[in-house]
């Protein structure tokens, strides 16, 4: 009854692409259920990183030698691949960053610094990760702008009935997550973007939990900015991207100054390159960008529709099986959810549960998941979270249930 077989991908073969999944933890086979924090990496990505350092490594854009040409070409090809992956019109709409957090900070500082004035409103939601909250608090403090928040209903979905009263003409930006990292809620991005645009607001989508899990097309979503991280989608840490609609990126001043981002410099002042290079001061994470492109290529070989079907099935299966345990409270929507499930159990605090599970090789995450306001909204100090990716299996979930069941008996 819980078969995952509508797509013809052989997931057991795919799983073998991930060397780390053969590891043992505390003498047990590793069950890695923390992919929402960071995903594991397939050999294809690891190999590309090695090949880059063995055959192409040089600085980009400046060198006139063969290796620099190779590195520059590989770096810019990666930008094109990222653009294609999310449906950007052109590669220039992709800024390489360290990840989602830096992407959002870039927008808050460069765009917000220029366009946000006292009395303007930034609309957020109560389910935002701290990375899509704190940068706006800092901006609001600097500019005198105000923050507003769309509430979250008991079932973990956004309270969209509030939108008409929140989305007023003072709102200049509506920034929200695509998939909640604690609840698994998948937000109706296209609808939210349309409503924001109707009052003249721009939109920023935090795609950290979605970019590696489901098809994304920024044209279809209609967003103005989209931020994501490479390391949650099979890529290396320290690389991510910001998509910005071309004319908006071009209207934004630089945020970091330094090499790479200038056309000419005198002692008094400088002229800056166009986007995206104007936002990439200093030597970029070249290997990271190339690794991200390799991760994208790997994901596309499997296909995002198949990945989403597999992942969301795992999450629904886990949510359903968890309710078999006593004193269990599962968070988030039951119908449709991203690849994770958060829960609390009467028997044990999330930290005791994760410590216990870890002793059986099961990697869960316990705590507030950088979602303190959301935890407060649900009246808990933290949750335990199991998050999945396409290399996970229903058998692993069955094992998790056994381990949690043992924990219930141990702690009560």
């Amino acid at each position: 009854m819980h078969k995952i077989a509508t797509s013809d991908v052989d997931w057991s073969v795919i799983r073998k692409d991930f060397p780390i999944l053969g590891e043992q933890a505390h003498g047990h086979p590793l069950i890695y259920f923390d992919s929402a924090a960071t995903s594991q990496k397939p050999r294809a990505v690891i190999d590309v990183l090695r090949r880059y350092y063995e055959h192409e490594n040089a600085n980009v854009h400046r060198g006139l030698h063969e290796l620099s040409s190779r590195a520059t070409e590989a770096y810019e090809k990666s930008r094109q691949r990222v653009a294609d992956y999310i449906g950007a019109v052109r590669a220039d709409e992709i800024v390489f960053t360290r990840g989602t957090t830096e992407s959002i900070n870039l927008v808050a500082q460069a765009w917000g610094g220029k366009f946000i004035r006292e009395g303007d409103v930034i609309l957020l939601t109560v389910m935002e990760h701290h990375s899509n909250l704190v940068p706006w608090q800092l901006l609001a403090e600097r500019t005198g702008a105000r923050l507003r928040f769309v509430g979250v209903r008991d079932d973990g979905t956004l309270d969209l009935k509030q939108l008409p009263s929140l989305l007023t003409p003072e709102v200049k930006l509506f920034a929200f997550t695509h998939i909640s990292n604690s609840l698994g809620t998948i937000n109706p991005v296209a609808e939210l973007c349309e409503k924001a645009h109707a009052v003249g607001a721009l939109t920023l989508v935090d795609a950290a939990q979605s970019a590696g899990h489901l098809p994304i097309d920024v044209q279809e979503l209609g967003c103005d900015f989209l931020a994501f991280s490479g390391h949650k989608m099979c890529g290396p840490t320290g690389i991510g991207a910001l998509y910005g609609r071309g004319e908006i990126l071009d209207s934004m001043p630089p945020w970091h100054g330094g090499g790479e981002m200038i056309v000419s410099v005198t002692l008094e002042k400088s002229a800056f390159k166009k986007a995206p290079h104007r936002f990439e001061a200093g030597t970029p994470n070249i290997a990271g960008a190339i690794g991200l492109a390799a991760a994208i290529q790997y994901i596309e070989q499997i296909g995002r529709p198949a990945i989403f079907e597999h992942d969301s099935h795992l999450a629904r299966y886990a949510a359903e099986r968890l309710t078999e345990l006593p004193g269990m409270r599962v968070f988030g929507p039951t119908e449709e959810r991203g690849a994770l499930v958060g829960f609390v159990m009467d028997a044990a605090h999330p930290h005791d549960l994760t410590t216990f599970a870890d002793q059986y090789g099961l990697a869960l995450r316990g705590g507030h998941h950088c979602n303190q306001p959301l935890m407060r909204r649900f009246g808990v100090s933290g949750t335990t979270r199991a998050s999945f990716y396409f290399y996970n299996t229903t058998e692993e979930i069955d094992r998790m249930i056994e381990i949690l069941d043992a924990a219930v008996r141990f702690f009560s």
Binding site: A348, D352, Q359, S381, F410, F411
Partner: protein, 154 residues
């Protein structure tokens, strides 16, 4: 069951976490400290009374958190009643060593607190064990009124 887990969650610890001793508030407390561990959301509210000689006359706590933080607070309050400031500070040092130092011999003076020894195998849980102790340290430093303390430097 792994021996590390058995040692970490000894029966005494589970018992104290389920039925914490000295759980409550002292209405006539000299000092109240609100401690938190922002990394996990654990909280403790400690109230302390001193006697004429400055020793810890009575101590109670409320709050919520994991088994380790709750048991540690419960055991601590039992141990510290009637102790002088110097003794409390000495005990704090000894307890910190107990839960962090793998070679620590668990001195007899720590008494029941020695059941917390297993924490040393779980470096991520040291802050849970230390939360109540950070609060009592703050209470002594403050001496009167209200204070807050965090396991994370701010």
């Amino acid at each position: 069951m792994s021996p590390e887990i058995e040692e970490l969650y000894q029966e005494v610890i589970l018992d104290h976490s389920r039925r914490p001793r000295n759980f409550g508030d002292l209405p006539d407390a000299a000092v109240r400290v609100h401690g938190d561990n922002p990394a996990c959301g654990d909280e403790i509210h400690l109230s302390v009374k001193f006697d004429g000689g400055g020793s810890l006359h009575d101590i109670k706590f409320t709050g919520h958190g994991c088994a380790i933080s709750q048991a540690s607070a419960s055991l601590m309050t039992m141990k510290l009643k009637g102790k002088s400031r110097a003794e409390v500070m000495e005990m704090l040092d000894a307890f910190h060593n107990l839960v962090t130092d793998a070679t620590n011999e668990a001195p007899k003076t720590l008494g029941d607190l020695r059941v917390m020894k297993g924490v040393r195998n779980f470096p991520q849980r040291v802050k849970c064990a230390m939360l109540a102790w950070r609060a009592v340290e703050q209470a002594l430093e403050q001496g009167a009124g209200e204070a807050t303390v965090s396991t994370e430097p701010t």
